[in-house]
Symmetry: C2
Subunit: 266 residues, 2 copies
């Protein structure tokens, strides 16, 4: 975001705050941020604060930052929304906060993973817009427009259901797939010689950061558990069809799954 | 294969055989094949026969073709190997057959899905090489060299174990993921508005052909069931850690899964 907001003239200058000193230095070297400082100092220097940290830290930082700001706008970009808006709603200064989830990312993290254009044409979900001030909301919307994102409004509860189905389960599915193959590799040394494009694509997300994902799964526990149950049930449907040598049922399951085609191609 | 074998001078001419007349015509239009004929006629015209059909049809065609050929070489490119070599081994003419699995493909099928360079730098598994004649094996190896594939030797049984873990489970995982989200979509109409790169990547294989995959899963039932059980167990590990609010266990599972990184990046 810093890269594109500077390149496209939205940000004159970007101040970085990071608990990890190496990452902070690296972000300076790469020109992603113009200076590094502590959080207290940064709050006083900026017009917009973007919280891009694990979602448990997001809540801590909202509690810390909201009471300290006046006209600055605080935007979070975390992958859960209900626990985050609940935290923000406890503050008198709620109106300076905008809850957002830009649906874009890669399996990589840290400053070296920053790429320009990541958000172009992707969706950003904005939650509880009515609780943000006109000024804060306008600034956030302008920012996401500069990032070329499609803006979608949704309540926080629905967001978390959808995110569980569209994003969180994909990650668990991928982590579990990696674990299954790594488990087998103990006995079958050359198993990865055969890895091809299909494997790489389904397992890609298993490279993702545990620091980022553990708090997401826990904050969205109810929905993630629901989709996990649905997912496991469909896997059992495949197992049962196999057990029964039921080619017709296997074909039916896959034909139903094929209905994802127009959605992925659109 | 036809595209690259012609372009790179290995094949003077390619004769197409397809039970689907539309696909046959389309392959002609696209210049993938030079003529279309029936299977009996084709056998007499060619030096090499490549069986690229669903794996149940592969076995039927081996039984039909092997007794009819002399110096022609019959190569199958199916995703299972044990049932296929077992079928071939029943024939006197076994030595003219080469069992191969080029580990490359896309989620698309039919002549319009043909792309040049698909096999470059990918692995091809050759099984039971010792049962093929020197002439047949040399021809198959030359062909896969022209296709720029890394040749790996493996017995058919090991191949089927590895293929279950590296390829077949990725497909089931992806089909089940698509089914889960499509199932939820009945209640949550706008769920796909949020779909992003991570979703597309894990669900891509759910577009694959049921005709191709049902026979693969059934022929490799034992190994596919084993990897499905392992996979479901790891999903339950995630569910249990969530149930216990056990952030440490979630982190451990994901950190173990992260060990897939150097393998995917190599």
């Amino acid at each position: 975001m810093a890269l594109d907001l500077k390149k496209r003239g939205f940000a004159e200058s970007v101040v970085g705050v990071d608990t990890n000193e190496k990452n902070a230095q690296r972000a300076m070297e790469l020109g992603i941020v113009d200076e590094i400082t502590g959080i207290e100092g940064a709050i006083k220097m900026v017009d917009v604060i973007i919280l891009a940290v694990p979602v448990d830290a997001t809540i801590e930082l909202i509690n810390k930052i909201l009471p300290q700001i006046n006209m600055q706008v605080l935007i979070d970009v975390g992958s859960t929304k209900e626990p985050i808006v609940k935290a923000a709603n406890l503050h008198e200064n709620r109106k300076q906060f905008v809850a957002a989830h830009p649906m874009a990312g890669t399996e990589f993290s840290g400053p070296d993973a920053a790429i320009s254009g990541l958000f172009d044409d992707k969706a950003v979900i904005l939650c509880e817009k009515e609780k943000s001030s006109e000024q804060a909301l306008k600034l956030a919307c302008d920012m996401f427009s500069i990032l070329k994102m499609r803006q979608i409004e949704m309540n926080a509860q629905n967001h978390d259901v959808h995110a569980a189905y569209i994003s969180h389960i994909s990650h668990i599915s991928s982590f579990a797939l990696a674990l299954s193959v790594l488990h087998k590799e103990k006995d079958e040394k050359s198993i990865f010689e055969m890895a091809s494009g299909g494997f790489a694509s389904t397992v890609r997300l298993a490279k993702s950061s545990p620091d980022m994902w553990a708090p997401i799964f826990l904050q969205n526990k109810k929905n993630v558990t629901e989709v996990l149950d649905t997912y496991i049930n469909f896997l059992y449907e495949f197992k049962l069809a196999l057990f029964n040598n039921d080619q017709g049922r296997l074909m039916d399951l896959m034909t139903m799954a094929n209905k994802i085609r127009p959605i992925l191609d659109s």
